[in-house]
């Protein structure tokens, strides 16, 4: 009993990696994967782990660690695998030395993502052994198994998680860390140098590896039958299996798959022959269903079960049996509660100033500052992916130049996202004589995912002091003129406006760096020395207030617009943006 721990799937992956003798882990933060590395950092006496600037770098570093003989892990959200796809496909050719595991955390239902891709398709496309845990115990066990299988089949293993597996807690039993020694490194050009000649040989050998993995898939006990009644059989994997158990109950039989690439088609065929009606229950794409149908096995799947959005027992029950549980209903409607930039958020001042500009296209990026697109600021025109703000802005500016309109382009990107993939985009602007204005919103931390260190914060994941990237100097080094780099305090609207006025009138690349720490950040000594972070509040003088509501248009969640306009003293941080926009001088700072 005492050895039972209630862990999230992410915490369990970290525990499994620790128990499996992992020595190297690298990741870029991304919901729902972030806590894997944060938890691993607690085992820093036994292993090394780091935040990489992006997912491609994280996976490449893990591949290097594996080649050097250590067990290694890279973790990322589903869209991060797109960034890391280049090394991923070729790592399937080189194989490994120490076990190598890639954790892909998919986000069905897009709780906090810009798309809903199904990364199981990567396993098929890159031919990677894939494991899919259905709860935290399996997340731990499959991480350990995955590292061992990676070594056995000389192949990177993909551990495919989803939001509900990552963030749900269930019980896990702990074991000791195994005595796994680092394997010796041997130079092997034919195996590790993927020139076309070597890679062609490796490509031809993939078939044999897939065959060996398929045999394992057909015989391993993580692909297991639960035979009960013969009327209904259900094939499922991941959290969808848990939902299926709720819906189909103890009378149905199940084929629960823990390894879903290569698929255990012999096992599936045998299971299908034992039941009258076969259901395939899976979230998102008909990944298993497609392969089962291709094998000539008839089944019911996406013809009834939705192929996008997150599943749950309700949805499956309604889809399969047309049943809904009786529920209470009210005609009253709760008002939506959309997320907003926090009270005191340093991004607010910049977006407020930007929202007043006419004839400006603002290309946005991924992070807290994406909320600059929300009402009442409405200050962003586009958001696609990490790093896209600067490159999309560059392309747009080139077209506005040709179409002869005087529309200007401002790209906004956070510090961590700039390090992730904004730097190469900015080189595109300088190298190709771009005219867009790039704004690096440096809030001294990776904000949206819950405050992870990054190359600009001066600390590592393991809590050690680190060199800080000098953003203005970096901009100069890639070709920006020193006089075209403006460093401003985003809480001072005049400073922001002056920088925007100057940058928007120049016909050459300009960068504005807004520098102020995230208000939720745990401030370092350096932060306290560099910024005035003393506690302040703002208050509205009700006699002077004319209820014009201009302060409300800053979108600050501390300002309440009712019969009177007031500021919530508990949440206000005294950032002073409302004070600066008030035309009647009715807002004052109080101690």
């Amino acid at each position: 009993m005492e050895n039972r721990h209630l862990l999230t799937g992410n915490e369990a992956v970290a525990r499994g990696a620790y128990e499996a003798g992992l020595v190297f882990a690298s990741a870029y933060p991304g919901t729902p994967s972030t806590e894997i590395l944060e938890t691993l950092a607690a085992y820093k006496d036994s292993l090394y782990c780091e935040w990489a600037p992006n997912e491609k770098v994280a996976l490449e570093a893990a591949i290097g660690a594996s080649l050097a003989g250590g067990r290694a892990l890279a973790a990322m959200k589903h869209v991060g695998v797109n960034v890391a796809a280049d090394p991923l496909f070729t790592a399937a050719y080189t194989g490994v030395n120490g076990g190598l595991i890639l954790v892909s955390a998919d986000d069905p239902g897009q709780h906090s993502s810009q798309n809903e891709q199904d990364n199981r398709n990567y396993a098929t496309a890159a031919r990677l052994l894939m494991l899919e845990p259905a709860d935290s115990q399996e997340a731990k066990d499959f991480t350990k198994l995955g590292l061992a299988l990676s070594e056995r089949f000389d192949m990177p293993v993909m551990l495919r998680m989803t939001t509900r597996v990552c963030h749900s807690k269930s019980t896990v039993t702990f074991e000791e860390r195994g005595e796994i020694s680092i394997r010796p490194y041997e130079k092997n050009i034919a195996k590790y140098v993927m020139t076309p000649a070597n890679a062609k040989v490796k490509r031809a050998k993939l078939g044999g590896a897939i065959q060996a993995m398929t045999e394992y898939s057909n015989s391993c006990d993580i692909n297991r039958e639960e035979i009960n009644g013969t009327d209904i059989g259900v094939i499922s994997a991941g959290v969808a299996y848990q939902y299926a158990k709720e819906v189909f109950g103890p009378e149905a039989s199940y084929l629960k798959l823990g390894m879903t690439y290569p698929m255990p088609m012999e096992k599936i065929r045998a299971f299908a022959s034992k039941v009258k009606t076969l259901y395939v229950v899976e979230e998102m794409d008909p990944y298993m269903e497609r392969q089962i149908r291709e094998a000539g096995i008839d089944c019911i799947g996406k013809d009834v079960i939705p192929e996008y959005d997150e599943l749950n027992p309700d949805i499956i029950r309604k889809a399969v049996f047309g049943e809904e549980a009786p529920a209470l209903h009210s005609d009253m409607k709760a008002v939506v509660r959309p997320p907003a930039l926090c009270a005191g958020c340093p991004h607010r001042g910049f977006f407020y100033a930007l929202s007043k500009r006419k004839n400006v296209m603002v290309t946005g990026d991924i992070g807290c500052y994406t909320l600059g697109a929300a009402p009442p600021l409405n200050a962003i025109d586009s958001v696609v992916c990490m790093g896209a703000s600067i490159s999309m802005g560059h392309g747009a500016a080139k077209v506005f130049q040709q179409s002869g309109t005087d529309t200007k382009v401002v790209a906004v990107i956070g510090d961590s996202t700039f390090f992730h993939s904004g730097i190469t985009s900015l080189i595109d602007v300088t190298y190709n004589k771009g005219v867009s204005v790039s704004v690096i919103m440096d809030n001294r931390i990776t904000g949206m995912t819950g405050h992870q260190q990054n190359p600009g914060t001066g600390l590592t994941l393991m809590g050690e002091p680190a060199v800080e990237v000098d953003i203005p100097l970096l901009c100069q080094a890639i070709g920006l003129k020193k006089e075209n780099i403006y460093i401003v305090n985003p809480l001072k609207l005049t400073e922001v406006d002056e920088a925007l006025d100057a940058a928007l009138t120049k016909e050459e690349p300009c960068v504005i760096i807004t520098k102020w720490p995230c208000i939720l950040k745990k401030f370092t000594q350096e932060d306290k020395a560099a910024f005035d972070l003393s506690k302040k509040k703002c208050e509205i003088d009700q006699e002077a207030c004319k209820k014009c509501k201009i302060c409300v248009k800053t979108g600050c969640p501390a300002i309440y617009s009712g019969d009177v306009i007031s500021i919530n003293g508990d949440t206000c941080t005294g950032c002073g943006i409302c004070m600066q926009v008030c035309p009647f001088d009715a807002i004052k700072e109080v101690k």
Binding site: T31, S168, E324, H329, M332, Y560, S561
Partner: protein
């Protein structure tokens, strides 16, 4: 207990639903139950609504609860009670904190905080309403509002065999054990 019990804690980011659910699950785990708990992280810190789902019993499969399936819902904020009413079992119990936090559209004057939520819900379901915020403030620490609500929930669950004080003590910051136990007992007295 053969049947799985479903509990839903709903509120607004920063109200302490996560600590309350942590203490609850620690207590349930100590009693030998299989426990699953699901939260959605992400943008909640930025003022969005939050929900924590806890399921316990002999063997629990799904970590999430469907519409009409919650045995108990504890709403840390009044409008969130309205938002989640469809998740309550028609025979279930709802504990509601009489505590309003306007959302951004309301603050901006673009929408109004719905009036008469408590009357509406009382007419539909078995509800207990009290002001946990005022109770916590009366005890001298407004941050223990979540533990007051946890006390009420535990009373509804009626599981005296579990050492809840132990579960509280091992999950709150050192030095805050006593005030949290007081808050817990004050919450129990409300239902």
């Amino acid at each position: 207990m053969k049947e799985t019990k479903n509990i839903l804690l709903v509120g607004v980011g920063g109200q302490g639903t996560i600590l309350a659910s942590k203490i609850l699950s620690a207590g349930l785990l100590s009693a030998g139950y299989d426990v699953k708990m699901s939260e959605i992280h992400g943008m909640s810190q930025r003022g969005g609504n939050v929900s924590t789902q806890i399921r316990f019993g002999e063997t629990v499969y799904s970590p999430i609860i469907g519409r009409g399936e919650a045995d108990v819902i504890v709403a840390f904020e009044t409008m969130e009670a309205l938002r989640w009413i469809e998740y309550l079992k028609p025979s279930g119990k709802m504990v509601i904190n009489d505590f309003e936090i306007p959302s951004v559209p309301i603050q901006m004057g673009a929408a109004e905080y719905p009036k008469g939520i408590l009357e509406e819900l009382a007419a539909k379901a078995d509800v207990s309403v009290f002001r946990a915020g005022a109770i916590a403030e009366g005890l001298g620490n407004s941050k223990t509002m979540n533990i007051v609500l946890l006390g009420a929930l535990v009373k509804v669950l009626n599981m005296p065999e579990i050492d809840w004080e132990q579960a509280i003590c091992s999950n709150v910051k050192q030095g805050f054990e006593e005030i949290n136990i007081k808050a817990f007992r004050a919450g129990e007295a409300q239902v």
